[in-house]
């Protein structure tokens, strides 16, 4: 059963048509065949991202299986599935772990839109400060869906 309603799809298709400029990669590392306790939310996450990607040809969805595609995922340091990476180029530093539903769905759409447009949610002053950081930082933000 589809996750997004026809109305949601219509709205998103329209929004993407207006907002997306450059291609954005959405890379999903999941369990593509297995379901059940091994990865309870993988099937729904796979479905949701496929639906979203089908609404714009600027969203390039790549799907990998965490086990079968292990060789291709070397160096990515995927510690949980489902894992979703958002990227313009070769960077893999923007990630979401879990199903991006509920409150997190708009944040994921924002990540796609901002990457596509080259926009940023931070003020120009904050952007300058962040660009100056010269250490490797690993930021983890723990959220709940509601």
């Amino acid at each position: 059963m589809p996750i997004l309603s026809d109305k949601d799809k219509e709205y998103l298709r329209d929004t993407f048509r207006k907002d997306l400029v450059n291609d954005v990669k959405v890379i999903l590392v999941s369990r593509l065949s297995a379901s059940g306790p091994e990865c309870l939310y993988c099937p729904q996450t796979n479905e949701l991202l496929q639906e979203v990607a089908s609404l714009s040809d600027k969203i390039k969805l790549e799907m990998y299986d965490a086990v079968a595609d292990k060789d291709k995922l070397q160096g990515l340091d995927v510690d949980n599935v489902p894992a979703i990476f958002f990227a313009r180029d070769g960077e893999r530093n923007i990630r979401f772990y879990g199903i991006p539903a509920g409150n997190e769905f708009p944040n994921v759409l924002e990540a796609i839109t901002h990457l596509s447009k080259g926009e940023n949610a931070l003020s120009p002053q904050a952007q300058e400060e962040v660009r100056k950081i010269d250490r490797d930082l690993h930021v983890r933000v723990f959220v709940t869906p509601t």
Partner: protein, 68 residues
């Protein structure tokens, strides 16, 4: 904001983790309230903060790491 920071600086990796799916991580990082942010295990804070506070936390973490 974490994703926004990562978009600007490739040295920043931002993971947003939907914690109800990964209870072990919630335990490991002692998540009692959300959003909880942990920066390289040296700085942590709970709650949504204004961007200047967020950036200050990132800078504080970078400074702590520089001092070793």
């Amino acid at each position: 904001m974490a994703h926004a920071a990562a978009m600007l600086n490739p040295r920043i990796r931002a993971d947003v983790v939907e914690i109800s799916e990964f209870p072990r991580m919630a335990q490991d990082f002692q998540v009692m309230g959300v959003p909880k942010t942990v920066v390289s295990d040296v700085v942590e804070f709970v709650g949504a903060v204004p961007e200047n506070t967020f950036v200050a936390h990132l800078k504080a973490a970078a400074e702590k790491l520089s001092k070793g």
